[in-house]
């Protein structure tokens, strides 16, 4: 192996990936007789034992419904649930805990804003600015609003490397634009977008900005105060937590003037058949019994990631990405899609003459789990004139040996299809 690879291996030793790997029971699985090489982390990451244990401890010793009864367990559960909210507030540096809303995931969070803000404040002739890099979950809710209200969606293009055209973006901003939606990190290509500058540009026109942070929160320190974003959305299951839980951060002033998304218990102050008075934020947006165990467990996941150190994890993931990029670039007949200068943990690629689904099935044969398809980002695929890519995505527990397994697997695919 050449020098850079060796240097990366040495740096990996400093991170002690094996120590963290040991925390993740599922990584000891075998698939098709081979050790599991899990490289589909951008879709969903795995949960470490301390986080799994937290779920069990909550359910075995702390569970009751929250915000309701006066009995002991209800008070404990409420304290744990609200404690998780404060952990997440600290994790993203939100100014106030009431600005952190539990949702079922990023999709739910975006839909909440589309309904609560979009349907209230976007009208005929207004514009919503999105980017080519958007996941479908940050396209479809806005299309629904646009269709209902007679508004228009404008799209920021990307260059061949998969970077947003910032000049074009700034030209799109104007008095008709009522909201900007941006992905912090592209799920299909891994591009890290200059969201801070883009938010500042929107704010010069008085336009609020929603950031889809689903792919950023696992890999970058996120500070919503420094970003000055108006809304920030992410999912628990991509940051070593459970499915069914996610976060909407929103500035209090905006959340307060939004309409509720779902009606039900807990989001009200009083109800008569004539009139309902809504609860204050965040409860206004948390109708019904929330996924309490999932919220508490997400708090533990955030603790876990903080203990590892998100900057250390990110540096390790960058090493993995650099190593994978370098090795894949050396394979004849394999093309990397998305070559932005700033990328996080995602390697999308195409093997000449082999459909990504065939690549995925044959890699699975080697125990290597990757994602193949359009990654719920069809506009990105269309931009490159391809139906799909193969995507390897990294987490803190992946190793250089797993990168080697991926590369060996790709070579095997090429051999089968030769």
């Amino acid at each position: 192996m050449n020098a850079p690879h060796t240097a990366l291996k040495q740096r990996e030793a400093g991170f002690d990936v094996e120590r963290y790997r040991a925390d993740f029971p599922i990584l000891r699985s075998r698939v098709n007789g081979k050790p599991l090489v899990f490289l589909d982390n951008a879709a969903s990451s795995q949960m470490p034992q301390p986080v799994l244990d937290r779920w069990i401890r909550y359910q075995t010793t702390q569970h009751a419904n929250i915000h309701r009864a006066v009995h002991h367990l209800s008070e404990v559960a409420t304290a744990e649930y609200e404690g998780a909210r404060r952990k997440i507030q600290a994790f993203i540096n939100a100014p106030e805990e009431r600005e952190v809303i539990f949702t079922s995931g990023t999709t739910d969070a975006i839909n909440l804003v589309a309904h609560g803000y979009g349907r209230k404040f976007i009208g005929p002739g207004d514009e919503i600015v999105l980017t080519t890099l958007e996941h479908h979950s940050n396209i479809v809710p806005w299309q629904m609003v646009a269709e209902e209200k007679g508004a228009r969606i404008r799209v920021v293009p990307i260059n061949d490397r998969g970077e947003l055209a910032i000049d074009e973006y700034e030209r799109l901003l104007g008095p008709r634009v009522k909201l900007v939606g941006l992905p912090h990190v592209s799920n299909a290509l891994g591009t890290i977008n200059p969201v801070r500058e883009m938010i500042a540009a929107a704010h010069r026109h008085g336009i609020p900005v929603l950031v889809d942070g689903a792919q950023a929160v696992p890999h970058l320190p996120v500070d919503v105060r420094a970003l000055d974003c108006d809304f920030y959305c992410f999912s628990g299951h991509k940051i070593y937590g459970p499915t069914g839980i996610g976060i909407l951060y929103g500035k209090a002033a905006l959340l307060e003037k939004m309409q509720p998304f779902k009606g039900g218990g807990d989001m009200i102050l009083s109800v008569t058949f004539e009139k309902t008075t809504y609860n204050v934020i965040p409860h206004k947006f948390e109708a019904g019994t929330p996924p309490i165990a999932a919220a508490v467990t997400l708090g533990a996941a955030v603790d876990y990631l903080s203990e590892v150190g998100i900057e250390r994890a990110a540096a390790h993931e960058t090493d993995l990405l650099d190593c994978a990029t370098e090795q894949v670039n050396r394979l004849p007949g394999v093309r990397i899609v998305g070559t932005a200068e700033h990328k996080a943990a995602v390697l999308s690629f195409i093997v000449d003459g082999v459909h990504p689904h065939d690549v995925g099935t044959l890699l699975n044969e080697e125990g290597v789990a990757i994602r193949t398809g359009h990654h719920c980002a069809q506009p990105v695929m269309k931009r490159y004139g391809i139906p799909a890519t193969s995507r390897a995505s990294f987490a803190l527990y992946n190793t250089m040996a797993e990168v080697d397994a991926l590369v060996a697997g790709i070579k095997k695919v090429q051999k089968v299809f030769r």
């Binding site: 098709n32 799920n187 082999v354 699975n364 139906p387």
Partner: protein, 162 residues
């Protein structure tokens, strides 16, 4: 040992490399487009029917190896057959791919049984079935079809998330 090694057999790789009856028929009497929106597989089937038999059949499109080989072998299998026999093959192929037909039982599939392994790869079943589904649509003069929703021939789940 999974079945994907068995699935990527030489006959399938060969039909993928050199698809038979490729292109569009100029004098087609029946045609349909098939699309799997979840993976982007897309193909068109054109037919020339004469006296209720498949006189000629072509296909073209963009898809994975399983879908392309399935389409190629389908065209060679149904060419010259009556519509009724072809419909029978469509049914048998679909049942084989979804695990409802045991290939040890009497059937008309012949070499098409190389696709039997897809039954163990739920996300790939639709790849193999799409050409047959499209042929069925062409017979019934349905211009476009997909593998999804109410048109889903076997309601098999396939991944489509982040």
């Amino acid at each position: 040992m999974s079945d994907s090694k068995q699935l990527y057999q030489e006959v399938i790789l060969d039909h993928n490399r050199k698809p038979r009856n490729w292109g569009a028929l100029a004098g087609a009497t029946h045609r349909a487009e098939g699309h799997n929106p979840l993976c982007g597989d897309h193909l068109s089937v054109t037919l020339e029917m004469q006296d209720d038999a498949v006189n000629a059949i072509n296909f073209q499109g963009e898809s994975c190896a399983i879908c392309k080989a399935s389409a190629s072998m389908m065209t060679t299998a149904v060419k010259g057959r009556s519509r009724r026999d072809a419909e029978e093959l469509i049914r048998e192929f679909r049942d084989m791919a979804t695990g409802q037909l045991d290939v040890a039982q009497p059937n008309h599939l012949g070499r098409l049984t190389v696709f039997a392994g897809v039954r163990d790869l739920p996300t790939r079943v639709k790849c193999a079935i799409l050409p047959w589904h499209t042929l069925h649509a062409a017979f019934n003069s349905i211009a476009t079809t997909t593998t999804e929703a109410e048109e889903d021939p076997m309601h098999a789940p396939i991944g489509g998330s982040a």
